[in-house]
Each structure stands twice: as structure tokens, then as C-alpha cells.
Symmetry: C2
Subunit: 308 residues, 2 copies
């Protein structure tokens, strides 16, 4: 049984990834801040550690001596992470962790990359081969630079690696201030939702699908970067309409009530040929995933209401 360390294990993507790796027969060691979060399987071995503390992280890695590492942890403060100086800390810590992981016998690593590594000025699907890597933020540059170093060093160090570039992810435990929870909670609360024209095109993937794709990346032998997305271009307006239909309150949504942001890219869609053909992975139906997500937020609201 392959033993694998997951960083950011208590996070939005980390949580379902633990389950996805267990489904694929891995022994999972979870690294996260603080105590075991609620709802994590008892089969997961939890190691509380601050990943920015190299000595502490090194000790944990040395104790586990895992074969695999799936590294998701990064600065995630909503909005702030794009420009935060913490990006430098995370590049530094990631490099040190890679060194230590390899030194303790690690063989295979998967790291969470981002669509922000790509040039966002075009309107074609972002493609691993064809789209230029031209980030526009310290976050994007930091991820891109980390991948560059990993790609140059890993083959010499005898480390197998892949890099999953994330697009728009939604689902349970998402930060409430982000788009999908904001829409769902507003409509479930029976409040009006003012929006811009919703014309921008995005690629929405359920977090359980993204986690499953990462587990598939890990167990594959693929080397290099792979987009993790649905590959389906969807206008934000259409997606919000689907959510509103799902909740049964399409009447509450008002498009065009707010001005559209000129700073956001027109289109951010993953080219998923590599994910489908090289990794052999594709997502579940969006309609079903969306229904689950709306139900999850409904049950959360219910539980919060019950407690009060």
C-alpha cells in the first residue's frame, strides 16, 4: 500500500482528497494546522504541523518516510493571496519540503498549480502545450516559478512529479465569501441577488471531482503539468441560473444590476485533453454535483439555525 503525505489536508480541496486517496488504496498521512478537523476519517493519520516551520515539518516527514506527497497547502486568504508576500514564504517552504521529502526516500510528488500561471489575455481554452505561461500576479508567478524549479530538479533527484493546475472549484466547505456559496446562500435566504451581466466564461468543477482528479494524477505515472478542470466553457450567468433553478428561486437574480469588472479575464477555461487522455479521468455530471452542493449548504444553514 502506497503511503502518501497530504499538505493542506484540512482545507477545501484537501478534505475530499484524503477520501479520494483512500479509495485508491493509499495509506494517508494528513498534514494540517491544529487538531483533526471534524468529519475526517479515522483511518487518516493526522499530523498537526506548521509547514512554514521547516524543522517541525522535516521531523514529521522523517517520521513518516512516505512514498508520495500531494502538496496543496498555500496562502489562501480570500482576495489577499494574489498579491501577498506570503507567496514567497510558500515557495521557500515548498522547496525545503521537497528536499526533505526526497531525502527521506520520497518518490512521487503532486503539487497544486493554478490557471494563474497562464497568459489570461486570450479567449481560447488554456492549454498545457499551447498557451504561454505568463502570470499577472505574485501568486501566479510564485506557482510558475516553483514548477519551473521542480521540473528542472526532480529528474536529477530521481523524483517523479506532476502538477495539477486548478481552475474554478466549488462545493462543500468553500469559503462563504466566494462566488458559489454567496449565490447559494443569498438565494436560499430568499434575498435578491444583484449581479453584473455575467458574461464572463469560466470552468467550474466540483471540489470532489477536483480531489478525485488529483488522486488520479498521483496514482498515474504522468510527468509534467495537467489542467484540472471540467473543460466546459460556461458563462457565469448560465451557472448562476442553474444554481437558481436548483434552489427554485430564479426570480431573485438580477443580471446587469452591477457594472462588470474590466480587470477580470473574459474567459478562463481548461483544455482537458491531457487530463482525459493521459490520466484517463473525467468529471461527474454538473447538474448532479450542483444539486449536492445546494443541499449541503442548505443543511449547513439548517444546522446553524438549529444551534441558535
Amino acid at each position: 500500500m502506497s503511503s502518501v503525505v497530504v499538505t493542506g489536508a484540512g482545507g477545501f480541496l484537501g478534505r475530499p482528497l484524503l477520501a479520494a486517496l483512500m479509495r485508491r488504496g493509499c495509506q494517508v498521512h494528513a498534514l494540517g494546522r491544529g487538531a483533526v478537523p471534524q468529519g475526517i476519517s479515522k483511518q487518516v493519520i493526522w499530523h498537526p504541523v506548521d509547514l512554514l516551520d521547516r524543522g517541525a515539518t522535516r521531523n514529521v516527514l522523517g517520521g513518516i518516510r512516505a512514498e508520495g506527497l500531494v502538496h496543496l497547502a498555500w496562502e489562501t486568504a480570500h482576495g489577499g493571496y494574489w498579491h501577498s508576500s506570503a507567496n514567497l514564504d510558500w515557495v521557500a517552504s515548498s522547496l525545503q519540503m521537497l528536499r526533505d521529502f526526497r531525502e527521506y526516500g520520497g518518490r512521487r510528488v503532486v503539487i497544486a498549480g493554478s490557471s494563474a500561471e497562464y497568459d489570461w489575455t486570450g479567449t481560447l481554452a488554456l492549454d498545457e502545450e499551447r498557451t504561454p505561461l505568463r502570470p499577472a500576479s505574485p501568486y501566479g508567478h510564485s506557482k510558475n516559478a516553483l514548477r519551473e524549479i521542480l521540473g528542472a530538479w526532480a529528474p536529477q533527484a530521481g523524483l517523479s512529479w506532476t502538477w495539477g493546475r486548478l481552475f474554478n472549484i466549488y462545493g462543500p466547505y468553500e469559503k462563504p465569501e466566494r462566488l458559489v456559496p454567496r449565490v447559494i446562500r443569498t438565494l436560499q435566504g430568499g434575498r435578491k441577488l444583484a449581479f453584473d451581466d455575467g458574461a464572463k466564461i469560466r470552468d467550474f468543477l466540483h471540489v470532489d471531482d477536483a480531489a478525485d482528479a488529483f488522486a488520479a494524477l498521483y496514482t498515474s505515472h504522468f510527468g509534467g503539468a495537467v489542467n484540472i478542470g471540467s473543460g466546459e466553457p460556461l458563462a457565469i450567468k448560465s451557472f448562476i441560473k442553474e444554481i437558481a433553478e436548483c434552489i427554485g428561486r430564479p426570480d431573485l437574480v438580477e443580471f446587469g444590476a452591477l457594472p462588470a469588472s474590466a480587470n477580470e479575464p473574459v474567459s478562463l477555461v481548461a483544455s482537458v485533453g491531457r487530463l482525459r487522455e493521459e490520466i484517463g479521468w473525467s468529471p461527474q455530471s454538473r447538474q448532479e454535483r450542483l444539486r449536492e452542493t445546494c443541499e449541503w449548504w442548505q443543511s449547513m444553514a439548517q444546522r446553524t439555525a438549529d444551534r441558535n
Copy 2:
């Protein structure tokens, strides 16, 4: 008076840089491994520290609170540094140092980059604007990635930065196993020097000139990357002949006695328009610098002989 921290201060380039910065009126804090090296001016404030120890380095930076940082330190084991895993440590430490330096009020940073960031497959002079950045080694990728992160982060952090890309440097205190010392010492010892055809083109700059260029970079207000080179394409054969003439033993050199390496780039020459026009800097005459260098190695050999 501007106070400036120099890392790698006891090294080949660091040593003359201390003097060059003092000539420009800076108060110089030198960070290096171990005790003060011989021959360093008493006006330099020496701080022995291991830069891979973040806590120790942070303490030193916090004590100095300098305005400037010239960061030269890196893995330098001859040959080995191109592919060493230590490149990851140096990227990590450099990022942490930048964060700490800025946090303690630092304003201007200059970092030593490398011609190894460029695509080496062409034959034109390597140019900051026109030549693609396409490293072929973990060392080149690490430098390139560090610059990418610095360039994205610095403007937001309120840090002014520049990046000096080094080409071939020679002069006093160079590692004896490198090209120029090897040629000089062999010929000064009266031994035959077998060489390949010497047809490859390089850009040779005296280390005191390179140091002076770095000091000029530091005191300029320029932002971005600048090649530090002579800009003069010189066949290695011609350069060796000049050395041999300088020593008075052209009879000892045998070109074509060894096969030429197919792995080395045909041409590595700096385009120096930016260095000349934006920084207003140009090197001293090579003939004079070469004579000084031969004399320095002669005096070293003499001193070694006197001791034995």
C-alpha cells in the same frame, strides 16, 4: 551614507565588491561564512552567519536594518552547482532573506543572476530584451525562477530591485581549477598546456570590473535585469594566446590536442547596451586587467614557494 548588506562577501566577487561599494560611499556590512577573510578592509563590518539558517540570518538583518542588499551568495562548488539540489536551498533562503530584509526597512536590492537564465542555443549576443529566457540546468532555472518571483513581488512590497547577469569572470582569488587560473598556473609553471581548438566564443570580464558594475547597479535607480559583461566576443583561443603572451610562454600552448566538447554552447556573449546606456558603466582595458591577473597569480605562487 547608504548602508548596504553584501552576502557571499568572502567570495570571488564579494571581496572586490566590498571595496567598490566603499568607493561609492556606502557603509558596508559583509555577511559571510566564518571569520573575516584576510585582506578585507577594516572599515567593513563583518557578520559571520550561515545564510541557510533563517533565524540566524534574520537576527543579523534585524540588527543592521540596512537600506540596501547585494545578494551574491549561492552554491558554488565547481561543476557541481549546475545540478545540485542545493539550488533549491538557495532559492528558499533568498526568498526568506528578501522578506526579512524588506520587513526591517530595506529599500533596494541587487541580486547576482547568470547568463544561464538565457537560451544558449543561438550565436547572437545574449540580450535582456530579445533573447528568450530558457535555462538548461537546475542552476539556471533556479536563478530564473527567483528573479521571476522577485520581479512580481518587489513593486508591491515597495522594494526597488535590479538583477546583474554574470558571464565569464576571472581574476584574483578565482578557484584554481577554473579556466583562467589553470592556464596561467600551467604556463607560469613552465608546463605544456593541451587544449581543444579553442573556437568557442566567450565574454571575459575581470572580477574587479564585475564588482564595480554591481556597485554601479546598486547606486543606480535602474529596475530589472542587466547583463554584466564586457560585450566583446572573444574566442577562447585568442584569450589563451593573450594570456600566454602576457606570461611570455606562447610556445607551451597546443591547440587541437584535445577534442572539443559538444555540450558547451558555441557562443556566450553579453549584449551590454543596457549596462552602458542605462547604468553608464563600461569596463577597463582587458590587456591591463590580464596583466594584473597574471602578476597576482605569480605573486601567489611566489608566496606559496616562500612558505615551503
